[in-house]
Symmetry: C2
Amino acid sequence: MSPRTVDKAARRKEILTAAVRVFARKGFAATRINDIAAEAGIAKGSVYLYYDSRDALLEAVFEGYRAMSAAILDRAVNGPGPALERLAGMVREVLGVLVARREPARIMVDLWAASRDAAGSPVDMAAVYGDARAAITELLRQAGKEGVLREDLSERHATVIVGAIEGCLLQCLVDPGLPAAELAEPIIQVCLEGLRRPAVHTPDFRGYEPATRPCP
Amino acid sequence: MSPRTVDKAARRKEILTAAVRVFARKGFAATRINDIAAEAGIAKGSVYLYYDSRDALLEAVFEGYRAMSAAILDRAVNGPGPALERLAGMVREVLGVLVARREPARIMVDLWAASRDAAGSPVDMAAVYGDARAAITELLRQAGKEGVLREDLSERHATVIVGAIEGCLLQCLVDPGLPAAELAEPIIQVCLEGLRRPAVHTPDFRGYEPATRPCP
DNA sequence: GGATATTGACTGACTGGTCAGTCATAATGA
DNA sequence: TCATTATGACTGACCAGTCAGTCAATATCC
């Protein structure tokens, strides 16, 4: 190589990219530092010139994921247009990412498991889910202002929406036969129809109140 | 006769119970056979008198979970009463199990990750999710017969419901601050309201058709 | 009863292998 | 030359699984 002329930041990124590829292929637990070094085309010792430890590498992978997640949420919360359309768009985007690049999502499961190990784990899944809940709670607040929601909503409902998205992702990961792309619309249908302001006339026609619109 | 006989099956179960406790406490990856032996109050070597390997123990834990899961689903599918009420009851039961005994669910995440490792893993999460989807698809079919559902439903919607339940479970596991018990009703609200036959009068009052019920 | 033999559940030190992380040495360009 | 970067053999810790040996409970015989 060319000592003194290497771009440290670029090299760090190369290693990180290699690590993501190997993690996705073999799973975090089964990945050896040697595998990552080989994937990056360098020696094992060199990995340690750029990352202090295996855990530091894990943390970097996690941060990359979290940044991607945060970007998607941010665009949904602060974007233009009606809030519910942004929510629907976000669901489509998340499922789309899964279809386009399975690695990030696949790795998340390993991170999940890895985070269980030590108390001082660098991977804080609670924060990731917390961010997602906060974003969707905000979207629901915006939609509420727009007057398109039922009025008995709480943050619990945001939890359910986050859960529906995450749960569908997991199923798609476990079972590659599931059509991830085609789940976006059912998710939107189930969630949003359940969130829209109920019709004055309830679905089963009990409680029909003709007096609210007197006949001419 | 044999000089001394122990109840092999009972001892197997003791070890399994100990394993579940340790897995729940430390996570599967971080659990040593020694830990399990200590928890069961026996020596390490004795564990191998009852289970061939660490993986065999993992498989037994998984089968126990799957049996519990299957029992809940079976009761919902074949129980008495309207299908949607059984569906709602099942959601309450699943969340209730999480509240009462966090271990089984917690372990599932580890099993999830463990299943990623080898191709010949004893843990088949795809089958677990597949069973759940099949059960809920059947519940929706029953509910459809009862005439209480929208008519454009597919198995995809069952996937969303499974996902919502599973996703909420995960969030509760990661973040013990979340009130698992209080999520059952929001899940039911979001899912079922999204599934019921839409009112003739759409929520935004466009398409209002007073002619359907003529004034006296 | 009690002396002796038999059984098999149980033990834990040991083995063989794995792997994260280290460091002495080499290579390279300024 | 010399500072910087790269290397890969090496180390020490760790752990799943083994197996030769222990011992308490039972069986059998006198």
